[in-house]
Amino acid sequence: MTEIKFDYFINGEKEKWEVIIGLEVHAQVLSKSKLFSSSPTKFGAEPNTQVSLVDSAFPGMLPVINQFCVEQSIKTGLGLNAKINLNSVFDRKNYFYADLPQGYQISQYKNPIVGEGEVVLDMPYGTKKVGIERLHLEQDAGKSIHDMDPDNSLVDLNRSGIALMEIVSKPDLRSPEEVNSYIKKLRSIMRYIGTCDGNMQEGSLRADVNVSVRKVGDKKFGTRCEIKNVNSIKFMQMAIEHEARRQVELLESGKKIDQETRLFDTKKNVTRSMRSKEDAHDYRYFPDPDLLPLHLDINLIDKLKKELPELPDQKKERFIKEHNLSSYEANILVSEKEISEYYEEVVKKCDKKLATNWIIVELFAVLNKKNLSISQSPVSAKNLSALIKMISSGKISGKIAKGVFEKMQIDDKDPIQIVEKEGLTQQSDPKELEKIVVKVLSKNKDKVTQYKSGKEKLFGYFVGEVMKLSKGKANPQLINQILKNKLK
């Protein structure tokens, strides 16, 4: 095997450039109610129906922290192998916008609830560690709608006050592929723990991307630009690629990069300037006097740590060690919580190696073809397990199993019933098989003579004939044995 090496560089006209990427991921906390009010958080409700007096900032209204959201962020922090800060502070980030009713967002500025952590990515060129700078809790804003009325903008406050975790990475990522892998890993971890559903279409996972470039070999970071509002991994990758090329072109033509916020135009495939550093808001952060500093009990953190489910990295390790899977196989099986759950359900009662193959090869082919997720699989884990058990016990052959698997896809049929109903059980009775072998050999005396005089290729012909006569049900290994004996 040839070793795969990292090779994402931008080749400018003059130099080879390295791309430096850092991500600020906004993950919506999976919680029934908002961060500082008891309003529901259901997605897709009628506009302004999930709004309390607190969310709409009526005079005299006060925020009260939702303990559940706090615990969710602690769990996420633990999942990121991060330091949980026993003391953190909520600050006000002040700016005016129509969908920000308070005129400030309650966030965490200097003292976030979660400190430094680390995420491990599996790249083709090996594992890659990505540092987490911090995770903090903050409120989401509402939504401004500019295209529903010709003269007015409309505001929907359903999202206003929903809890977000902002997860800030260190500038450790070096390619769009690594970004892809990083986001998927974060998403996977949070879904395993149940702290964010990771649904990018519904906006429960969004990211701002910081991109800069430097000549290969340089130690100093270049000036970065922040690309806002990229709401799919694909667009994120495209935006990075284009932004990096833009920066390289600028630098190679002797110009400077302005530190600024840019938007990615998905139609034109370019990033455009949104606001420069000079126009940047002065958010006038200060501790929110309506909220006390958040003090966490170490016992709570220990308790949450104990309650944490097995996470993808741990699961992978276990699959490799205990199930004897390859790193490649284990990676696929743990990549999504649902896949790992499906796999573990299947292997409860059958051979692990065989199950892995069936899931990764046969089942995924079906899911891909039909564009389904594992949770929509037409074949249940229980039935797939039964099928595999029949293969390993020799009740049916692998070939027959493929046909049965086809049939199982309609209404998730029980493979045992299919096999019994259609009489597909493998013939493994040596006496019966011997009868068939004798029959075949006596029919083909001329070929037996040829075989014995050295034309050994004919062995396969005899096997095929026996199979034909048994309607494909004969146990191939037994046939081999019997044939070899008879042809001696």
């Binding site: 007096l53 709409s56 900032a57 009526f58 005079p59 005299g60 209204m61 006060l62 925020p63 009260v64 922290i65 006000r92 002040n94 005016f96 916008y97 129509a98 009713p101 308070q102 005129g103 400030y104 903008s153 505001v155 002065d282 006038r284 952060y285 200060f286 006097p289 309506d290 909220l291 006390l292």
Partner: protein
């Protein structure tokens, strides 16, 4: 029965209980007095019809269980009242009708009281003379040309003039105690966290506290008891038991140690204030208290620190008044212009001044030099008090550096206006309870108050000490009713 309105809250409650008069008669008496006293400009919104209905309803059901059974009470227009306009003295909320009731007013109503009206105050409680209200000046019953103090000026004036048997105000830097002092009434700023802030239009969240304003100390203890309590809707509310302040009220203060802080003897303080202070010391000594000189060394930094912290919080708290959701909205070609026009038209000069100061002290590059430093000073001031309270049970100071001043006297000089809060502000910065009790008069026969500062959640001690002063001070409301 026009003299009902002259009675104390306690006497009215007892009178109703003993059926000396009905709640309706009481209510009508205050309404009658209020209607005749429009010159004082104390009300922003009158709820007289509703009050009569509530009174009649009370007389029919005769439920005497509450501490305030059958009593009409007018409140500062900073408390949100369900279905009753709540303006905070500002144009920007001139049309705002809440769908909810503040916790503190709700506590009063669940003790059997009902709303008589909403009282004038400085705009968003920013002022020391009630001259910043969008709804005009309030007049002090002690003189046609005099301010009642602020920001709870409407409350103080209405109380002194007999338009409400008691009232509640809010105190961020002295807004209960200073007007109480100017109008010869009793005003208590409770410990921060004792009364819920939920439903009170916010000025400076870390300093705001609601409190009772009454005609005597006995009433004060009662009303304080009725309005206090833990509220899970306010994260800064403190979950400690509400005492039976009324039944524990006593003027037996023998052996209590009283601190006299030397730093409160400020330069240029009128002699009559100093004399009043000395009288106060004598009254307490007479009652058996032990008077000690103490030092609160960082007092001189309190006012500057306050005028950084309070505007900083206010600049953020008032950002929600943007014309988008409720209240006044001006026209504009786009969102930014709508904001600018709404806030230019909606806020008065003093509010704008404080928003500007607050925005400035929080802005990047200035935060450390102003806001952060002010917070450090605040901690030093707290430490001063903590240290002092190792040696004493309460601290006695004048409430204000002068008696009520003339309308317009200080409007062009914000700093001299701010200096009026010099004795009251350190208390808010420290979160401690303090009460202003009438103790005498100046040479013009204007009332003067003394302030007693207590340990956190020890309002009982300062109430008791106030009672001891009240009994000895021989203070009687002595103005002529010139406005009717």
């Amino acid at each position: 029965m026009s003299n009902i309105s002259e009675l104390s809250l306690t006497k009215i409650i007892n009178g109703i209980k003993k059926k000396e008069f009905t709640s309706e008669e009481v209510t009508k008496s205050f309404i009658d007095q209020s209607k005749k006293s429009k010159k004082l400009n104390t009300y922003i919104t009158e709820c007289f019809e509703e009050a009569i209905k509530s009174a009649k309803n009370f007389d029919k059901n005769k439920n005497y269980k509450g501490l305030l059974s059958g009593v009409p009470i007018a409140v500062k227009d900073l408390f949100c009242t369900k279905n009753v306009r709540t303006t905070a003295g500002s144009k920007i909320l001139h049309n705002f009708i809440p769908t909810y009731e503040s916790t503190v007013t709700n506590n009063l109503w669940s003790q059997g009281a009902f709303l008589l009206g909403k009282l004038n105050c400085d705009e968003f409680a920013m002022g020391s003379s009630n001259e910043t209200s969008f709804f005009g000046n309030v007049i002090n019953p002690y003189g046609e040309k005099l301010v009642p103090g602020g920001s709870s000026g409407g409350s103080a004036s209405a109380l002194a003039a007999g338009l409400t048997p008691a009232t509640i105000g809010t105190d961020t830097g002295g807004s209960i105690r200073q007007p109480a002092s100017f109008t010869g009434t009793v005003g208590l700023k409770p410990t921060y966290g004792r009364c819920s802030r939920w439903g009170i239009v916010a000025f400076a969240s870390s300093l705001d506290q609601a409190g009772p304003m009454t005609r005597n100390v006995e009433d004060c203890a009662l009303l304080f008891q009725a309005m206090s309590g833990y509220d899970s809707k306010d994260s800064t509310s403190v979950d400690t038991k509400v005492d039976n302040y009324s039944s524990k009220l006593t003027d037996k203060v023998k052996g209590l140690k009283i601190g006299i802080p030397k730093e409160y003897k400020v330069d240029g303080m009128p002699k009559e204030i100093d004399d009043l202070w000395k009288k106060g010391i004598e009254y307490l000594k007479d009652a058996g208290a032990i008077v000690k000189n103490i030092s609160l060394p960082h007092t001189m930094y309190a006012l500057p620190a306050y005028y950084i912290v309070a505007p900083a919080e206010a600049s953020s708290n008032l950002a929600r008044y943007d014309g988008v959701k409720y209240g006044h909205r001006a026209k504009g070609k786009n969102l930014i212009e709508m904001y600018e026009n709404t806030r230019s038209e909606g806020f008065g000069d003093e509010v704008k001044r404080r928003i500007l100061i607050g925005t400035y002290v929080l802005s990047s590059g200035y935060y450390d030099a102003y806001y952060l430093k002010a917070q450090k000073v605040r901690q030093l001031i707290k430490n001063d008090f903590d240290k002092a309270f190792h040696d004493v049970d309460a601290i006695l100071t004048p409430s204000t550096p002068s008696s009520a001043f003339k309308i317009g006297d200080k409007t062009n000089d914000p700093v001299s206006m701010y200096l009026n809060d010099i004795f009251t502000v350190p208390v808010n910065l420290s979160g401690l309870p303090a009460i202003s009790v009438p103790a005498g008069y100046d040479k013009n026969n204007l009332p003067l108050g003394l302030q007693l500062i207590g340990k956190a959640f020890d309002e009982q001690t300062i109430l008791n000490l106030s009672l001891a002063i009240e009994k000895r001070a021989d203070f009687n409301k002595n103005f002529k009713v010139w406005w009717i």
